[in-house]
Symmetry: C2
Subunit: 355 residues, 2 copies
């Protein structure tokens, strides 16, 4: 079987096999679902780490530094660079990739850019499937970097085990965009270019928004290992974690998102970020959250695959396209509405016949 | 029939009926498709104008000014403010709406904010359907304002007859994000806050990217009415329109996107924008492009409605949800893959039976 031999080559981490498998998946070519299905039982080795944030936050540089640090530990790393807004950023994407060439020559590193296309499955699903290929390929770490703001951040957060939200002092609107939903996306916060003016203020603003108010990053990272009191701005003391200490034995400790400072261009703070990522992974494992996240991902994946396969059935097999085309004159003339035509098509689909 | 009486109340532009109809559509409550189907034959009165651009470009202020100008002409106006990134902007949206209160008290104006939700149909489809309700409600102009950057701009462009892309000198990355795809989105370009430093440069950059190189906005707006030569930077003359004059009789003239300057906060340039919008509408009508755009929209709408109705069938009627839940333990244990389960579900759907 073709899938089986490709799986074997993937496990051996042969670069051509990896590239071929990713192309297969990206283009949804014949056999891609068999491949992913064959990989499924062996998935879960790789730690999936999302790097996200606004344009210009230095995500690519930080990603490069993380790769170097993991390589120094003897770990293999795959980078998936997703740019859901590529029609709007154009050349910028390429620029980032060129900068990464220093690590691209390392055989223990695999870098893949993914651009938005009108794919049947949607970018998020395809990205997850590419990560599966890399996981099946035995990589120890998969870094998923997303350029852009908006829905893509939410999607990457659901792809990764740990999501790093990167901000910079000069992102200006940065803290304004940090309201509500986005705070839940970041498992770890990084203020990059932390040597620039405004970095401390940004960090403080993030901590206020997170409900930490005051303290340094590592006090928060360690908060789930023991109870560490931080001093409030008014001088009183408070436990940063929401749960009272007495309940610690009964319930798993919640994760207090750390706010770290880095200067990625100089490699500063990267070691601390690595340590915080390891701590987050330990937390995921020890609390059972990793299994819960994996189960939710697999559930969502199954739904997505059903929807994608259904769309393929409707538009490429069922004859629905032709049925709509035949009704377009009636729709234009007001004799039929889009809803009338859609109901007609759906009735045909429900009867399992060609409409 | 319920839909019929609601349609009658809508036509009479009774505000409670409009609000009720929009809620019905937004929440996809029972009867919303009948309502939209009943409205379908009478649609097309309203001109749909999209206002889009990066955050902070002053879109809301410009929208407010446009509303005031249309009102001064005795026209009724509906505003649909779409914020596809609302989890990230939070309070900002509300701020804009509060500022619009000056026009919100006018009975000839209707303002509706739409936030992203995990709706069955997707935000773009729902926005188009809300615009249909407003069109059915007899409004002369519908302004669709989108906050955010990315896919949302592409979507709004497909919703509107005329799309205005608003930029500001200080948007910084603005011109960098103007590569490739986005230039086709704007039927009209506005450099807002045109009294600030850098406005002329931004305008020039846009014109260079559009292939105009030199000239002022109104020369370009008028380019399709007659051939106006603009002087190139090197001193030679050139016809801004791509088509040679001799072919004007045979083919419809193409639209040369104007680049206008406004200071929305002071109302400057709004009259020019209004005139340019009218000219674009004339062009849409005279070239048959309006009919083509409408046909494409109705075709896409029909496909969207088919997909939405199919999703509803799958997840709420077919039993697929239960089938997946029952298989989740097998998926977690690696005995079945998401693709195995999806294939099982799809087979059931194709047979028209409950899976």
């Amino acid at each position: 079987m073709k899938a089986a031999s490709l799986v074997a080559d993937l496990r051996a981490r042969k670069a051509p096999a990896i590239a071929r498998a990713i192309s297969l998946v990206e283009n949804a070519r014949a056999g891609f679902e068999e491949l992913l299905s064959a990989l499924h039982p062996s998935l879960g080795h790789a730690r999936r780490i999302g790097i996200t944030g606004p344009p210009g936050a230095g995500k690519s540089t930080l990603t490069e530094r993380l790769v170097q640090a993991y390589r120094a530990q003897g770990l293999t790393v795959a980078v998936v660079a997703v740019d859901p807004t590529s029609p709007f950023t154009g050349g910028a994407l390429l620029g980032d990739r060129i900068r990464m060439e220093s690590i691209a020559l390392d055989p223990g590193v695999f870098i893949r850019s993914m651009a938005t296309r009108g794919s049947l499955g949607g970018l998020a699903t395809t990205t997850r499937e590419v990560c599966d290929v890399l996981d099946g390929g035995g990589f120890d770490r998969i870094l998923i970097e997303t350029v852009g703001v908006g829905q893509s951040e939410l999607d990457v957060a659901r792809t990764a085990d740990s999501t790093v939200l990167v901000l910079v002092p000069e992102s200006g609107d940065g803290i304004q965009t940090l309201k509500s939903g986005i705070m839940e996306i970041g498992d770890l916060f990084v203020v990059n270019k932390a040597d620039r003016p405004g970095a401390d203020r940004l960090r403080q603003e993030i901590e206020v928004t997170l409900g930490i108010r005051q303290g340094n990053a590592f006090r928060h990272v360690k908060a789930h290992h023991g109870v560490s009191a931080t001093r409030r701005l008014d001088g009183s003391t408070a436990v940063p974690d929401a749960e009272p200490p007495s309940r610690r034995g009964a319930e798993p400790p919640s994760w207090q998102q750390p706010v770290l400072g880095t200067v990625a261009a100089k490699g500063e703070g990267v070691g601390d970020l690595l340590a915080a990522l390891d701590q987050h992974h330990d937390w995921l494992v020890s609390t059972g959250e990793l299994v819960r996240r994996r189960r939710r991902r697999l559930y969502e994946r199954t739904r997505e695959v059903v929807e994608r396969a259904t769309r393929q059935w409707i538009w490429q097999e069922s004859g629905a396209e032709q049925a709509i085309q035949e009704q377009m004159d009636a729709v234009m003339e007001g004799r039929a509405s889009p809803y009338d035509v859609a109901a007609l098509v759906l009735d045909g689909l429900k009867q399992g016949s060609r409409v």
